[in-house]
């Protein structure tokens, strides 16, 4: 179980997380939804140990083991994964090299990476030619998220935080990514925290629990009906008048001066 208790954190002296409580069991899918600026991304980064955040109180345990005292790489080896909203470009470093080094550091056989990757590229719809290319460099939005999902599938964490995994994705990529994550939850017991602004991810990735994060606190929790309510009424009930579905994009003909 991933348990977050009274987690408070500051960025540049300003408190962003104001006491988060959350429990996710193996195989459960939790959606954390909220308007812009509510602290969603901060939560995922603090859990993964990204530099630049000051934790002022609280506790996070993974299967009873405190993780806040661990450096990021040890949290990853303990079974935590962060699928990033904006996966970082790493010039000259290939996905394969990263997976092999991660396996080596975790006492797994790096020779297994090839087979695992081979069996996953089709499932997540990842272009195998990108495996040897520099990580995320010149990847499209969809390729980046498929790459994150591929890494999730190969590394086999126990708990995954997916930060706005649905942003920058077309419908096909969204479906592939959501299905693979849902399979990992159902078949491999992966616990999932899916952080999202919009409800469209949740039609593929059926959440067991939905939490609304606003102003650095979880202000409501419920079943998937809570997501339906957000879909219909937006975040207005929690003080932010934002819709929970993407704005309609007008497809006007481009004009040239």
């Amino acid at each position: 179980m991933l348990a977050v208790r009274d987690l408070r954190a500051k960025v540049a002296g300003k408190e962003i997380l104001k006491g988060i409580d959350l429990e996710v069991r193996s195989g459960e899918v939790h959606a954390v939804m909220g308007p812009n600026g509510s602290g969603k991304s901060t939560l995922s980064h603090v859990l993964m140990g990204r530099p630049g955040y000051e934790i002022t109180s609280g506790q996070v345990t993974l299967d009873g083991q405190d993780i806040l005292g661990m450096p990021t790489w040890r949290r990853a080896q303990a079974g935590l994964f962060l699928g990033m909203q904006y996966p970082i470009e790493v010039p000259g470093v290939s996905l394969e090299a990263v997976l092999r080094e991660s396996f080596t550091a975790g006492g797994r056989d790096p020779a297994d990476v090839d087979d695992l990757v081979g069996s996953e590229v089709g499932r997540v719809g990842f272009d195998a030619r990108l495996l040897k290319r520099a990580l995320n460099v010149d990847f499209s939005g969809g390729e980046k998220k498929r790459s994150e999902t591929l890494q999730l599938a190969v590394l086999r964490p126990f708990f995954a935080m997916l930060d706005e995994v649905d942003s920058g994705l077309d419908v096909d990529a969204l479906r592939d990514v959501a299905r693979r994550v849902a399979q990992a939850a159902a078949q491999e017991g992966l616990g999932v925290i899916a952080i999202t602004h919009y409800t469209r991810l949740l039609s593929e990735l059926r959440p067991d629990r939905v939490h609304v994060l606003s102003g650095g606190r979880i202000v409501a929790s419920g079943g998937s009906d809570l997501a339906d309510e957000l879909e219909a009424h937006g975040y207005g009930a929690w003080g932010k008048d934002e819709p929970a579905r993407p704005p309609e994009v007008a497809l006007a003909a481009p004009t040239f001066p």
Partner: protein, 410 residues
């Protein structure tokens, strides 16, 4: 010999002030026998020798010729100029040789002239200098003359684990429409001093692809002067360096254009670790009459640890219109974002830094004409990076290089 000082612009940031010539004796005044090559450079030397299969192999030991092997029809003629033979003039552009280049001319024991005239097949030449004896100063001197229309690849390796001073001169003349690929690999041990001069001249329609790999040395300097003297001549100059411990790698380059429609492109990329230093100072010079010149110069440095330092000084000197020139220079630490991304995948910090460093160098590794030496260079680089990380880990108060780097684009 009067030594220069670091108050001169060409020696700014260098360690020239700490060179004590009394520590060294010239070749011939000593009968001491030397040490042996380290394992990885040893493998590199073996690979370089294999590269010469079907071509020409020249080796020197402490500046003295030890081997000349030429396969039948190798296409290259090797002459040893020891017996006061007439030596062709060097190709040095305006500015000329410094004190060390001049000393090389005076003291080189076995200057080697390699003439390539066979235009019917690609010609391969490998030169290996072994610097084996502590306290010895040697002056390897190699002149390569490529006749019109030939295609020649020259690989020159400096190897040996001694506390020596080596002052090599490599002088490359590329005639009209000839193609030359030159690779210089400096794989000396950590106690050697190297002060090298490389000059090249490319005539009309000729091309030079020149690469430098710098790994070893206590202080290792390469002065490169590339002159494009005929219309349409081009040069591509690349260097990869990795300095760790307390090493200093020091590069000075001149891209000299003095003919119409000439093209030069330079990419020097390096990593400094522990308390090592690198210096890059480069000049693009476009002389009167060199209309239509295109010249580019890029130097990028990754500072792996807080105690390491890189200097980068780009310069332009343009005396003609209708030219396209640019230079870019950057010095910065490892990106915290890149680090975090790799850490978040379970890669430990030292391994992540090694991956990022090699990744940073990948661009230049791909441009260097490494040929079959490629895996050996990457292996030597990886081993050196791992050693640098181990050294850093031993320093208990390991500083986190969290400050933002300076990136300047000029």
């Amino acid at each position: 010999m009067k030594l220069p000082t670091s108050s001169l612009e060409e020696w700014r940031y260098s360690r020239i002030d700490s060179l004590d010539l009394d520590r060294f004796e010239p070749v011939g005044s000593s009968s001491r026998s030397g040490g042996h090559d380290e394992t990885i450079p040893g493998a590199l030397v073996e690979a370089a020798r294999r590269c010469s299969a079907g071509g020409t192999l020249v080796e020197t030991v402490d500046g003295r010729l030890s081997i000349v092997e030429s396969a039948p029809g190798s296409g290259a003629k090797v002459t040893v100029l020891s017996q006061a033979a007439e030596e062709p003039a060097l190709v040095w552009a305006a500015g000329g040789l410094d004190a060390f280049g001049t000393a090389n001319e005076a003291f080189s024991v076995d200057p080697i002239l390699i003439e390539v005239t066979d235009r019917d097949r690609p010609v391969k030449v490998t030169v290996v200098h072994h610097c084996l004896t502590d306290g010895l100063v040697s002056f390897p001197r190699v002149l390569v003359r490529a006749a019109p229309n030939v295609d020649v690849t020259v690989t020159e390796v400096l190897s040996g684990d001694s506390a020596c001073l080596v002052v090599p001169v490599s002088d490359l003349d590329v005639a009209a429409n000839a193609r030359m690929v030159y690779l210089g690999v400096q794989a000396l041990g950590g106690r050697a001093w190297q002060i090298a001069s490389q000059s090249s001249r490319v005539a009309a329609g000729g091309t030079l692809t020149s690469g430098v790999v710098a790994l070893g040395g206590d202080y290792a300097r390469v002065l490169t002067s590339s002159s494009l003297t005929g219309a349409g001549a081009s040069s591509r100059l690349a260097a990869m360096y990795f300095a760790s411990g307390s090493q200093m790698h020091d590069f000075r380059t001149v891209q000299d254009h003095n003919a119409r429609k000439t093209f030069s492109e330079l990419l020097y990329k390096g990593v400094v670790a522990n308390t090592a230093t690198s210096v890059y100072s480069g000049l693009i010079r476009v002389e009167k009459g060199a209309k239509g010149t295109r010249a580019f110069q890029t130097n990028r440095n990754l500072v792996l640890h807080e105690g390491a330092r890189a200097e980068s000084v780009p310069n332009l000197e343009i005396e003609e219109n209708d030219v396209s020139c640019s230079h870019a220079s950057a010095i910065g630490p490892v990106s915290e974002d890149e680090r975090f991304y790799l850490h978040s995948r379970g890669v430990p910090p030292q391994v992540a830094d090694r991956l990022i460093s090699i990744g940073f160098l990948t661009e230049v590794l791909e441009q260097l004409p490494l040929g079959d030496l490629s895996p050996h260079v990457v292996e030597a680089l990886s081993a050196k990076l791992a050693a640098a990380e181990a050294t850093q880990a031993e320093r208990s108060d390991r500083p986190q290089s969290g400050e933002a780097g300076q990136e300047e684009l000029m």
